[in-house]
């Protein structure tokens, strides 16, 4: 995957992929969490982990989900069972690189940086890193079949309240 040659996918595919990523950011930034699992396939794989775990080949996820159902369970916990100080996050997703479509879907890598604002505090850099994703087309829509969120810092500030 690292050495894959970038295609020139054309404006349409690139525009559709960018739209998915911007929608993904908006869902989290606007706290429309109930809509978040809808951007994934039913049998999706979602994992948030540190660069350290990736480099060591360790399987742990700060968040690990193996289905859209598990993403929905996380949303229920977020909205109904967890206690946290209200905050706002803002995702900046850039450097989107689209790789040759394969039978299993389209591989996409992108950078993210997330800023976080807590009540009565200045906005601060929260986490930055890379998405390594696989997109598939279902029912005329592009969806995440795999989303791997790798944050560069070993240390997460306070808590990871919202998905990355």
């Amino acid at each position: 995957m690292d050495t894959a040659i970038l295609t020139q996918p054309g404006y349409e595919l690139r525009a559709r992929i960018e739209a998915l990523y911007y929608d993904y950011a908006a869902v989290l930034d606007d706290k429309e969490f109930a809509r978040w699992p809808d951007l994934f396939t039913e049998d999706c794989f979602y994992r948030v982990t540190s660069r350290e775990n990736i480099e060591l080949g360790l399987p742990l996820g700060i968040i690990l989900a193996e289905s859209r159902g598990m993403l929905r369970d996380r949303v229920v916990a977020l909205l109904e069972t967890s206690m946290y100080v209200p905050r706002r996050v803002r995702h900046f997703i850039t450097n989107i690189r689209i790789f040759d479509p394969e039978a299993t879907g389209i591989r996409v890598r992108a950078n993210f940086s997330v800023h976080q604002t807590l009540p009565d505090q200045e906005t601060g850099m929260y986490l930055s890193g890379e998405y390594q994703d696989r997109l598939v087309e279902q029912g005329g829509r592009l969806l995440f079949a795999e989303k791997l969120c790798i944050h560069d810092a070993t240390v997460v500030p306070i808590s990871l309240v919202y998905p990355l």
Binding site: V156, I158, S159
Partner: protein, 411 residues
């Protein structure tokens, strides 16, 4: 021991049923803790042996504010040395882990063997009869600071005090029994790391795992699934000093009853969309399904269903600490058990269905406490004494912690 502005520090007259706010917010208290607790007569958690299996493997770790290196020696044993060059004090090893045959400080290339002995000083004899170290310089007296090391069933502890009692005596028979329940001699396998920086004093994190009262109230997720609840058979047990403790609970049903009526947030109808998330299997002797153990001063051992982790508490300053999680399993786990542990890890860590409540509670505790350091905190649930309990409506283990803390700190 130098005087550290303790003259105006008076513990409340009520004793250990009160904790003064200033222990969480005063820089002089923090400095005194570094000296008396972390550099003192304590076995501090360093790492798991599974992280450094081969000769020359090393891993950075922390004891209080000091950075240490755990190193696998050629004879198979583990050394722990201070990551500070004996020459000019540089932190000579920046790598978090790796494998080396010797350690070379990049500043002046002073070289140490895997045990921390000084084996090389460039131009020690000078150059063309000029310069160099004095003739009476003794390399054997200028090695790295070496810590006392104890390793039990794959878990490595170290102490700056070479006169400390054995690790087994330090834990006492009862706590050692719980320790050996999870660390039973089987080889461990590392599943991964998580680390979070929490804007709260380090003691609040230790107290949190000594406080079963909050678990039934704050942790709606745990309560709703019966993973830890006050109406289930439980114990709070300590060692004779009160410094170590276990909370023990047993999984119950997801049903409403008299007890849940006082849990404002209890959700009897909470169902998972994907039940694979919580598919626990019994793997330890006895009927306890969760045992959380805290070892003075810096370790939490987590066994909740099938998710296992050591959580190392790293104090940063009086208002911050890091919680460094190492999730593990056993080398003989099958693929299904490994996947189960990874799924259940969703309960824990910076995004944990349960733990997120704690890191957030730490943050609001610190801001509230630090704004009024003159006011004491109440620790009276379950009485004012330090006796083991067979229920969870108690803060007895926090009192035990402060009974020992006062003795060590001289407050």
């Amino acid at each position: 021991m130098q005087a550290l502005a303790t003259d105006d520090r008076h513990w409340p007259n009520e004793g250990i049923s009160r904790v003064p706010g200033w222990v969480y917010s005063a820089p002089d208290v923090f400095a005194r803790e570094q000296e008396r607790i972390f550099k003192g007569r304590s076995w501090c958690y360093v790492c798991l042996e599974a992280e450094i299996p081969n000769a020359g493997d090393f891993r950075r770790s922390y004891i209080g504010g000091k950075v240490v290196l755990a190193v696998r020696r050629k004879d198979g044993g583990v050394s722990v040395v201070l990551n500070r060059c004996a020459h000019r004090g540089a932190e000579f090893c920046s790598a978090k882990r790796g494998n080396k045959q010797e350690f070379v400080c990049p500043y002046h290339e002073w070289t140490y063997d895997l045990e921390g002995n000084l084996i090389g000083v460039p131009f020690r004899r000078g150059y063309q009869k000029q310069g160099g170290m004095p003739a009476d310089f003794k390399p054997e007296e200028n090695g790295l600071v070496k810590l006392e090391v104890a390793s039990r069933h794959g878990v490595v502890f170290a102490s700056f005090d070479h006169d400390i009692e054995s690790f087994e005596d330090y834990l006492g028979e009862k706590m050692l029994g719980y320790f050996d329940r999870v660390f039973d001699g089987r080889k461990l396998t590392i599943l991964g790391y998580e680390r979070q920086r929490i804007p709260a004093n380090w003691k609040l994190m230790m107290e949190n795992i000594k406080d079963p009262y909050h678990a039934s109230l704050l942790h709606v997720f745990l309560v709703s699934f019966g993973l830890f609840r006050m109406d289930q058979k439980s114990q709070v047990q300590m060692d004779p000093t009160g410094r170590h403790c276990v909370l023990v609970n047993r999984k119950g049903e997801q049903s409403a009853n008299v007890a849940t009526s006082e849990m404002r947030n209890f959700k009897a109808d909470f169902k998972l969309n994907d039940p694979r998330l919580l598919d626990p299997v019994r793997e330890f002797p006895g009927d306890a399904t969760v045992v959380m153990q805290t070892l003075w001063p810096n370790l939490i051992i987590q066994q909740q269903s099938n998710t296992l982790a050591v959580r190392q508490v790293v104090p940063i300053d009086e208002g911050h600490h890091d919680l460094a999680w190492t999730f593990f399993g056993y080398e003989n786990d099958d693929a299904a058990m490994r996947q189960r542990r990874l799924r259940q890890a969703n309960l824990m860590g910076p995004a944990g269905f349960v733990s997120i409540d704690d890191s957030e509670a730490m943050m609001i505790s610190q801001t509230g406490i630090a704004a009024s350091p003159e006011k004491p905190l109440l620790v009276e649930m379950g009485g004012r004494e330090v006796d083991d309990a067979e229920h969870t409506i108690t803060e007895v283990a926090i009192r035990g912690f402060y009974q020992h803390y006062r003795e060590v700190m001289g407050y």
